[in-house]
């Protein structure tokens, strides 16, 4: 068994590691214990700004800090970043201020808290904002690696992390993680499964099942949804001739939307999207949610077979 860890811990670790840069500041909205920004707060209380339970305030305080030469990292649950969406749009993205927002507990995998907490639209909405880099890594190592690169970015970003522990894939491989570059985890020729976050692990399991059935699948960890690694997607579409996307997010506008938008004007191939089917979640365990929402590896296997069957 590989090591298990939560991506939110990778975020917390990265903030601590970034603290050597005196311009790095951390903003909280009463969820630092959950998003793991508390690691930074404990070590550097003087550079941690508590904004109370006030997400809209937090985003714009971040914008003011960024305009004054600081590098603010603001976090709350993915769902509650959305309350400050217009602040993000008009106060952060439009002036292109480098505020780095982290939304933890994203997706239905967040489980028994129920539908009010399960953000399934964050990736879609932030992807529509000019200047904003959008990421959803699948393990703590890649989360840390991506977060460590953010001070160099010079513009705003949104990263979704998850609540629950998942297998660690990148121990000792952090150098492979670059903002905007998908990682080919498994190479295959019949179908390309492009996934992000928790569903990367389901995609890997799906590829194994497909292999047993004589189908060779590529699996890509597309941890950055924007800017999208279009080159990789085109080359995989070319090589495999069929694509499946997989995400713990609405099928509308997230990774599936991004890949479809790209392929439709470059190299259209049969494509299937695994994601939440335009509905809200409910209270259930993390694994139960994935099953209920049609996000398990067997759903990906079926989608891969459908996509392959549609090849001309």
């Amino acid at each position: 068994m590989s090591r298990m860890a939560a991506t939110r811990d990778g975020y917390g670790d990265a903030l601590l590691a970034l603290a050597d840069n005196p311009k790095v500041v951390v903003l909280e909205a009463d969820l630092g214990k959950s998003t793991k920004s508390l690691y930074f707060r404990k070590a550097h209380p003087e550079r941690t700004i508590s904004c109370g339970i006030g997400e809209q305030n937090m985003l714009l305080v971040g914008a003011g800090l960024a305009s004054s030469g600081f590098i603010p990292f603001a976090s709350t649950f993915a769902i509650f970043t959305e309350r400050a969406f217009e602040q993000m749009r008009n106060g952060v993205a439009r002036p292109n201020l480098a505020v780095h927002v982290c939304g933890s507990h994203g997706g239905t995998h967040t489980g028994t808290d129920g539908s009010s907490a399960q953000s399934i639209e964050d990736l879609a909405i932030y992807r529509t904002l000019p200047n904003v880099v959008v990421m959803h890594p699948c393990d703590d190592v890649s989360t840390k690696a991506l977060t460590m690169q953010l001070p160099e970015l010079g513009g705003p970003s949104y990263m979704r992390t998850a609540r629950n522990k998942t297998p660690v894939l990148y121990d000792g491989r952090e150098n492979e993680i670059k903002i905007g570059k998908g990682v080919e985890l498994i190479e295959g020729k019949d179908v390309a499964i492009i996934a992000c976050g928790v569903l990367v692990h389901e995609a890997i399991a799906a590829a194994k099942t497909l292999e047993e059935a004589g189908v060779s699948a590529t699996v890509v960890d597309m941890h950055t949804l924007k800017p999208l690694d279009g080159e990789l997607i085109e080359s995989l579409a070319e090589k495999c001739g069929a694509v499946v996307t997989a995400e713990d997010h609405s099928i509308i506008g997230g990774l599936g939307g991004a890949v479809a938008e790209h392929l439709i004007s470059t190299r259209p191939v049969p494509m299937e999207r695994i994601g939440v089917q335009d509905r809200f979640g409910e209270s259930a365990g993390a694994e139960e949610m994935l099953e209920m929402m049609g996000l398990k590896s067997h759903h990906i296997v079926d989608a891969a077979k459908r996509a392959i069957a549609r090849k001309a």
């Binding site: 009463d30 508590s50 305030n57 009010s116």
Partner: protein, 275 residues
Amino acid sequence: MGEMSISELEEMARKCRIEICKMTHRAQAGHPGGSLSEIDILCALYGRRLRVQTSNPKWEDRDRFILSKGHASPGMYAVLAEMGFISHADLESYRVKGGVCQGHVDMKWCPGVDFSAGSLGMGLSFGMGCAVAARIDGSSRNSYVMIGDGEMQEGSIWEAAMSAVHHELGNLKLFVDCNGIQNDDFCEVQMRMFDIPAKWSSFGWAVKVIDGHNMNEIVGAIEWMDTISDRPAVVIANTVKGKGVSFMENNPAFHGAAPSDEQLVQALSELGVSA
């Protein structure tokens, strides 16, 4: 509702506290602290004041109760079970797939719930909408809302506070569960709010401060609210987070953590359940 006596209300609250501990223990998740701090007020409201019909939870002319701090759902579910909106067996569905007792109170899932909460800062505006609707309908029904003290930090609360006074909504009644603790820590650490009653009076609300665990004071405050008809009224209830379970009392750790097996045994014995 028939008149429940003070001692009957206190007994109802004790039973609800037991259910709150059991529910969060069973789920090994959820929010006991804020459920235990709000429960005396919820019992008094339901047992003594709210005009609702358990046989017809969607009765159009019912008083509304909006638990804006929707994470404190175990308290609400325990009261709904005591009142007969749901069964005691339903309480076992808290945070369980398909259960009426969703993690946060949800009007689509649970009979007797008037608002789908979970995101803080939304219930007062919703309650104002219900109050405006009652006025347009020419109905005497009231709209009761409960928020947390941490929740008060959301800007939207103050948008609602200002507009409810502008619209002279005498049928809007608010409780603030001032337990001094929010998610990460004490409110004093996270965001100092200074003089809370003064803030509400300066917005134009009728304000009363009470001990939120003294049933006589709670019932008195509910009756006081009935006397205010020209503007919204708020009761600032000083409470103890985790009230009734010694190791949870005033302990930020029990905002969102469930009791362990041993802790449940201790909690239940403190609440008068013999092992």
